[in-house]
């Protein structure tokens, strides 16, 4: 896909996020929107997958370690054809296959259940290890929050991945700067992030998580690097794309009301129109 196509798709993914959380009257828009470009790149460009055959055993895997941002993953999966986009509106409803946090038995395309922070990365390490044990080529991707990396388990997993030279593993940290209680540096600073991963024998790459050239280059470098796992620290804006949610901790885990929903969709429609125009030039 071209960058413009990716941008347009990411904008659709953002609409799905806002629509599903609005419909659920609960959920986590902020961290879903900050990672929307990453979800889009992974599912539309990077990963070797088949939406018609979600359990294909040689597929690349993705573990959403920051499971609360399930609306972002669900929207990417729906837009990629795993299930109808219309179903995003059933998010968090009684009986829906779109649970509040990812459930691998319920949702096509979800490779691992998650929601308790710090645990998904270990499962991703296990998948990468399985590929090595079975001499398979599939790659494993996992997405963590910058608050999430305060969990000690993240570093236990990282130590293991580095020690075992799991070069088929990419750990992505969404550095949107915010967790629930405020800015990550105020709550319990996680910085420096890149040097920490380097100390655990990772290759660390810093990128702008809203720039598809940088995302593309980082994954290319990860694939070319042998003998160590890669950490991509992506600098993002929490709530990206919806003006009133941007860089605002208050929109971590809150649904927009009807009026706010209309404003949010208008913001995204405007971006869509601008992207259309850019395409005509």
């Amino acid at each position: 896909m071209t960058n413009l196509e990716l941008q347009k798709t990411a904008n659709e993914v953002r609409k799905g996020i806002v629509t599903s959380v609005h419909s659920a009257k609960a959920g986590h828009p902020g961290g879903s929107l900050s990672a929307a470009d990453m979800f889009t790149y992974l599912y539309f460009e990077e990963m070797n997958i088949d939406p018609k055959n979600p359990k294909w055993e040689d597929r690349d895997r993705f573990v959403l370690s920051k499971g609360h941002t399930a609306p972002g993953l669900y929207s990417a999966l729906a837009n990629r054809g795993y299930f109808p986009v219309e179903d995003l509106k059933t998010l968090r409803k009684l009986g829906s296959y779109l649970q509040g946090h990812p459930c691998m038995q319920e949702t096509p395309g979800v490779d691992m259940s998650s929601g308790s922070l710090g645990q998904g990365i270990s499962a991703a390490v296990g998948m990468a290890l399985a590929a090595k044990l079975d001499k398979k080529d599939f790659r494993v991707y996992t997405l963590l929050g910058d608050g999430e990396i305060q969990e000690g388990q993240v570093w236990e997993a990282s130590m293991f991945a580095g020690a075992n030279k799991l070069d088929n593993l990419v750990v992505i940290v969404d550095n949107n700067g915010l967790q629930i209680d405020g800015r990550v540096e105020d709550v319990c600073s996680v910085y420096p992030i890149d040097a920490k991963f380097e100390a655990f024998n990772f290759q660390a790459i810093n990128i702008d998580g809203h720039n598809f050239d940088e995302i593309r280059a980082a994954f290319k470098k990860a694939k070319e690097t042998k003998g160590k796992p890669t950490a991509i620290i992506m600098h993002t804006v929490k709530g990206k794309g919806v003006s009133f949610m941007e860089d605002n901790a208050g929109w971590h885990g809150k649904a927009p009301n009807d009026e706010e929903y209309a404003t949010a969709m208008a913001d995204l429609d405007k971006i869509a129109a601008e992207l259309e125009k850019a395409g005509e030039v």
Binding site: L94, G115, G118, G152, Q179, D181
Partner: protein, 312 residues
Amino acid sequence: MADVKKIATRESYGNALVACAEDFPELVVLDADLAGATKTGTFKKAYPDRHIDCGIAECNMTGIAAGLATCGKIPFISSFAMFAAGRNFEQVRNSIGYPHLNVKIGATHAGITVGEDGATHQCNEDIALMRTIPGMTVIVPSDDIEAKAAVRAALEMDGPVYLRFGRAAVPVINDNADYKFEIGKGVVLKEGADVSIIATGICVEGAMGAAEMLKADGIDAEVINIHTIKPLDEELVVATAKKTRKVFTVEEHSVIGGLGSAVCDVLSEKDPTKVTKIGVYDRFGESGPAAALVEKYGLDSKGIYAKIKENM
């Protein structure tokens, strides 16, 4: 019913911490990036110097609390029940339980009334986990008044205490002049001769409703609120069993290891009686509105009533 006051016990918890701050100068509150949801934010606002945010690192928070307690502080650690009891279990057991340190655990968002967040966040196992730790006191308040009294009582005693609070607003039911909270003492809310309904936490209200419905059928139910699961009020449990010979337990928790099991443990030894456990039947929760889940899992008055009728 519209004018019944409703308040979530997590809210009561936050308010109680503030209310106790002056009387207990050694009280400090530890939090793991959930100050808003657990309502410890209320305390943080009033006493910023005595609130410590440990970040998203519950196990480390538990160890820090243990260290603080060895130096004379009275730490209240706070998170969702899933993490406070679940993720932390071994830290609580070995760093707080074994050395019998004076740490209090304020666990909010217990049970299925977490609602939309779904199974990963709905802890139906915490009572079971905490009850197995020697020397641990386990309290499950049923409303605002009981929750506040429990926080104070926990601070007044020496030793580890686990307090279980809910996310959803619940009616105030203990608003009467005679109400007195004492750790380890159950409360008889209604005397009766035909069946005993022993409930805890948010299920106490449902049990009272079920008793009303049973009355219409000519069944006289005794309703007991057990706010302290451990140490359990064995005397009261045995006495009500002797009286009615039909015991029902009700809890927003797995039927494995919770109140029902605690009651069975006592009765099987002291006065074997048939006990029907009403709770979450060995399954995970799911996403949905809290009230809809309570109904689906049969923990509202109607569900409790139906289960009792079925097992009379």
